[in-house]
Symmetry: C2
Subunit: 160 residues, 2 copies
C-alpha cells in the first residue's frame, strides 16, 4: 500500500532516461526507442512498450515515427512533466479511497452516512497530490534533490 506499481517505476525511469539523453552534452538530442531503455534498465521489453504507449497516449511523450530510427521524445520540457501527471497517466486518477472521485457524495460506498473519515482522508489526499504535482521529471534528474518541503512538514506544524 502507498507503493508505486512497477509500471509507475518504469515510467519514471524511462522519462528520466529520456530527459538525460535529450539534454545530452553531446549536443545531439536524439530520439530513444523502447529497446534501448529496456536494455539500459533491465525492464521487460513488451511491458515497457505498453508503458511508453500509455505515456504517448497521454501526450507526455511523442512517438517520433514508426520503423527503423523511430522512437520517442519528451513532449514537454522535463520541468513541465509532473510526477502526478505520470502517475495518473499510468494508473488512472489518484485516490486514497474508492470514493475519492465521486464528488460531493459517496453514495456508492458501503458506509454511506456512517462514514466519518471521508473528509479528513480527502484532505490527506490533497496534500499528497499537491506534493506530487509540485515535483517534475527535472527534479529527479539529479541525485541530490534538496527538498525544502521536508522542513515545512514537521509534525507539530502540520495540523492546526
Amino acid at each position: 500500500m502507498l507503493k508505486f506499481s512497477k509500471k509507475a517505476d518504469y515510467a519514471l525511469l524511462a522519462l528520466q532516461y529520456m530527459a538525460v539523453v535529450q539534454s545530452g552534452v553531446d549536443a545531439d538530442p536524439r530520439v530513444v526507442n523502447t529497446k534501448e531503455i529496456a536494455e539500459e534498465h533491465h525492464i521487460p521489453l513488451e511491458l515497457l512498450a505498453k508503458v511508453l504507449q500509455t505515456l504517448a497516449r497521454h501526450q507526455l511523450i511523442e512517438s517520433h515515427h514508426n520503423g527503423p530510427k523511430g522512437g520517442y521524445v519528451l513532449a514537454h520540457a522535463p520541468g513541465d512533466i509532473t510526477i502526478a501527471q505520470v502517475l495518473e497517466a499510468i494508473e488512472g486518477p489518484l485516490g486514497l479511497t474508492d470514493c475519492s472521485h465521486e464528488k460531493g457524495d459517496h453514495s456508492q460506498c458501503e458506509q454511506m452516512s456512517r462514514c466519518n473519515i471521508r473528509t479528513p482522508l480527502l484532505k490527506i489526499q490533497d496534500s499528497i497530490f499537491q506534493l506530487l504535482n509540485g515535483m517534475s521529471i527535472e527534479d529527479i534528474l539529479v541525485e541530490e534533490t534538496p527538498l525544502i518541503i521536508v522542513e515545512s512538514l514537521k509534525p507539530q506544524g502540520v495540523i492546526s
Copy 2:
C-alpha cells in the same frame, strides 16, 4: 496505487469509532466490541476481528478482557495515535518502492547502479511519511479538519 487497503480503511473507521465512544459525553467511556463496530459500519465481522487483533498486537488498542462484556479500548489518547502508526501496524513498513527499506544500498534491486531515481523517490516518501505522521486519530474525529499544510504545499514552493 497510492490507495489505502480496505483493512486500513476499516482500522481507521474502527479507531475513530472507538475514540468517539470513549470520549462520549455520556460520561461513560466504555469498552467496545468487534461486533458493534462491524454492524455500525457494515464491515465483515471476521475481517474486522483480524484487523483489531493486529492493532492490539501493535499496542494501539488493548483488549479489555474475553467473554461477555469484553472488548477493546484505545491504548492511548486519540491524539497520540498517528495515521502512520495505524498504517504500519496493518500493512507493515511504508514505502513507495521495494528498496525503500534497504538503507544505504539497493543491492537487491534489478536496476542496481543504473537506478537514478531512488534518492528522489525516497525524498517524496519522507514527505508523505511526515504528513501521515503528523496526523492522528484525533484529527479525523471532526468532519472539518483545517489543514494548514495544504497552504504550505503550494507547488511553486515545494522544490528548492
